[in-house]
Chain length 513, copies 2
């Protein structure tokens, strides 16, 4: 069956109850109610603290066939997921569904447990390295890996499509009755935005902390009313992997050209005025673009309303300099951002649902004017792939890509026109993560293409000193240099499913030959 993005989706996919086809970014009409956790009782002065992860697994009654969840704020420094999966394996529990907000290469450590059948299904924003290869191999997992955006995951949790039996929350600071924040302790990660959803909807919630403090801890990111058990451990993460220092701005000439064009696109788009709002990616070109945008804002005396992210130091600098009034923060990438969330009352923590859930009464992406996003590849229909590489292997993450593209007034995708000998503008991307209908401008170092459905933006950009051209012209430049690339040969076996943020199936990932 062809969906609205033109993708051929089988009517039956192993492990999926129902295959709902993507039918346009705002076509879904959801029904039903938000589904909360099982109702429980916690008696006065009850003890929530347990001695070990093993004890917590016993206390929750976690057993084979259940679903567990994790958040990825510790990024490549995370110890929690690996510790818990190991403990589960030791107990002989099998057939677990792992619903993580995302997975990084540090989680390669769980590969043996996937191979042994401890984990047999995975839902995540993405996968990298050996895990991504394992997903793409189609081996071991009982059903295709399910890729969700951050907003889509929040939606799926609230809608009861993901029923989390036990959420394990890495808690940088936790008090003795379960109030949690991410801004204190040696493993501070800043915002707890993704974990907030897990904690609010999981049937049982275990906080794992290396910084247990007296009750009450505040500010409170996750409240005691969500937390069943608390386990203190030596370390929940490696600070060096959790947050970097402020990233250095790119010196790559190609990235700098892209950044300059992208900032000109914003400047002339019609959106660049007082009280505009902005989301930046964390890639090199995005961060470089931040610098140019900052200069333009200062030069023209423009003060923005709010920034959104995935927060990085350039945004924090703009907040500190009064160029934006507020930041909404679902995750922090560096130490300056964590410090800012801790110290600056204008820097606000938000949940993944507030950030991007398409089925509440209005996430912050709905008020976003401009977003800059990256891409692995795009196509002439403006579809974007950020999940599979040029061999068709899963090596990226959906993140908030499709959420912000759908929400923002102006969505700008930045990418080099060529990666090595490979063109980046294709006839069809190998995997669609963000549908072209929601992508407005594609910026490369050789040219800038505007989606034909945004004639208003195209007209505005004629004033900008940028190489404006059609997407086909852009593609031709690439093809002239490299020749037309072969499409990636695949088998019929479906190893991944890309769920659009509204719960429909946008694309499937087939096992490469």
């Amino acid at each position: 069956m062809l969906n609205k993005a033109g993708r051929d989706i089988p009517s039956v996919i192993p492990g999926f109850k129902e295959v709902k086809l993507y039918n346009g970014p705002f076509a879904a009409n959801p029904t039903g109610r938000v589904v909360g956790p099982k109702i429980t009782v916690n008696k006065p002065r009850s003890e929530k603290i347990l001695k070990s992860i093993d004890q917590a697994i016993e206390a929750t009654g976690l057993k084979s066939g259940m679903t567990i969840s994790f958040h990825h704020h510790f990024r490549n420094g995370d110890y929690v997921l690996n510790m818990v999966v190991e403990a589960i394996a030791r107990k002989g529990i099998r057939d677990i569904t792992l619903a993580a907000s995302s997975l990084t290469s540090t989680h390669d450590a769980i590969i043996p447990y996937i191979e042994q059948g401890v984990i047999t299904a995975i839902e995540t924003s993405g996968g990298r390295g050996k895990l991504g290869e394992l997903f793409t191999s189609g081996k071991f997992l009982k059903k295709p890996v399910l890729i969700r955006s951050h907003g889509g995951r929040a939606r799926a949790i609230e809608a009861g499509e993901v029923v989390i039996d036990v959420a394990f929350i890495g808690a940088p600071a936790c008090d003795t009755y379960g109030n949690i924040n991410g801004i204190e302790g040696k493993s501070a990660c800043g915002s707890m935005g993704y974990a907030m959803c897990d904690a609010a909807y999981a049937d049982q919630v275990v906080a794992i902390t290396d910084h247990l403090v007296p009750h009450p801890l505040y500010p409170i990111s996750i409240p005691q009313t969500n937390v069943d058990f608390i386990v203190e451990v030596e370390a929940i993460g490696d600070p060096k992997g959790i947050a970097s220092g402020a990233l250095r701005i790119s010196k790559d000439p190609k990235e700098l050209i892209i950044a300059e064009y992208a900032s000109s696109v914003i400047e002339y788009s019609g959106y660049f005025k007082n009280d505009y709002s902005l989301q930046l990616g964390s890639g090199g070109a995005s961060l470089a673009a931040a610098q140019f945008i900052k200069e333009k804002m200062i030069a023209q005396g423009i003060v923005g309303s709010f920034g959104v992210g995935g927060i990085t130091a350039p945004f924090v600098e703009m907040l500190d300099q009064g160029l934006f009034k507020t930041l909404f923060d679902v995750q922090d990438f560096d130490i300056p951002s964590i410090d800012s969330l801790r110290n600056n009352p204008n820097h606000l923590e938000m949940s993944a649902s507030y950030y991007a859930n398409p089925h509440n009464r209005g996430p912050i992406v709905n008020k976003l004017d401009v977003v800059i996003l990256s891409a692995t590849e795009v196509d002439v229909d403006f579809n974007v792939n950020v999940i599979t590489n040029s061999n068709g292997v899963i090596m990226g993450a959906s993140g908030g890509h499709c959420d912000t593209a759908a929400g923002a007034g102006l969505s700008i995708v930045v990418a080099p026109l060529l990666r090595g000998r490979l063109p980046m503008v294709l006839d069809k991307v190998h995997t669609i993560v963000t549908p072209g209908e929601t992508v407005d401008v594609i910026v490369t170092e050789r040219g800038v293409a505007v989606n034909p459905n945004r004639k208003d933006v195209f007209e505005n950009l004629k004033q900008a000193n940028i190489p404006l051209m059609s997407i086909e012209e852009l593609q031709q430049i690439a093809y002239d240099l490299t020749g037309k690339p072969e499409s990636i040969p695949v088998t019929d076996e479906i190893v991944g499913v890309v769920e659009y943020r509204d719960g429909t199936i946008l694309d499937v990932i087939r096992k490469p030959v």
Copy 2:
């Protein structure tokens, strides 16, 4: 059928699907899941602002037979409830269930609409004045008024026992996309604790504001993700009725004696030590007790952990003086408290669920050491009535009474032994709001009685210079002065139902003869 509190509850009550008998404060074993709102979509850049309450009623599709909700943070200064009910009546809508967090005498204005059948069922923490008389008359309403505690209401909403079709939120400050707080604007009321539950669980949410500000407003008490529509009006309340200046400490000698005894009870109870936590009522004796407790804390160098409430100026002073580290605030009673919530980061807003919902993973009352509560009457089984007066007429509110009594390590009830010619310690209170099993000490100006199930407290209090006696002795003193009072003659007609915080029926209110 006799319930565990010894009350005779009919097996069928008009308008109640099922009659679940109270069986002890922690006997209920809830099943099922938390029930969230209907899932909806709010598209990017959608307009939430409507021109009038009438338009909002139309936009929500509110129709006869539905349930609407309100919060009572504006107390006697509230304009919102009356405005909305009037508008509903004008539209010819009838048979509405009014689920308010509480009702005050300013809501006497809705009596005509009850008489006309616009409102035919009421769920509330209490009722006063003419409304209380109307409830007790058994006229007009199709079923008995349902009395819930603040924690019980949060529980009932989360459990889906109250399904709110439309919540109307009086918003002291609201931005153009629905972010709300209570600390700004001319009608600032401070904490929005009760409204948070309505907003999170109602199928549709209408914010009514007299202070509409640009997006994004922060701090955020109720998020845009909960709000469907926004209506700007001239005024949502009368500031003089919303919050008083700091209340003056009582000069009533009887209240001062009670306050002194109550503070001695705390001092010698075994709970008075560093990091203890405290909730105070807003009555005269409670506020006077605060003064004595403060002096004792300073004298003994004791620093408490947190205060809870219903916040009043004496608590704010203790916070400012470093006698408590934190306040948890579900509602503010005076201007100093509102100012403190706005300005002091150690003064935390909380929802009614965080405050007192017995069926989440641990409300703050579960960590409460000491609470001082008032009473209309108590009985020799330590049961407390705060809802009906000496004529059996509804004239009070349940509030957080039974919630804090159940949660606190030490629950102290303060009341005069006599009111006029009427004794306050009876064989049986007319209406039980808080079961005696959860009441530890009763303090009057003539004597202090300790619940026999708290022998530990009784032993400790022997050191205190207070007239310790049995509850029967206390009763005898009263009866010697006034004679044994007649019980209030009642009919068989049930006009009110007192639901315990766990959803069981603790007592019924019968129409007086």
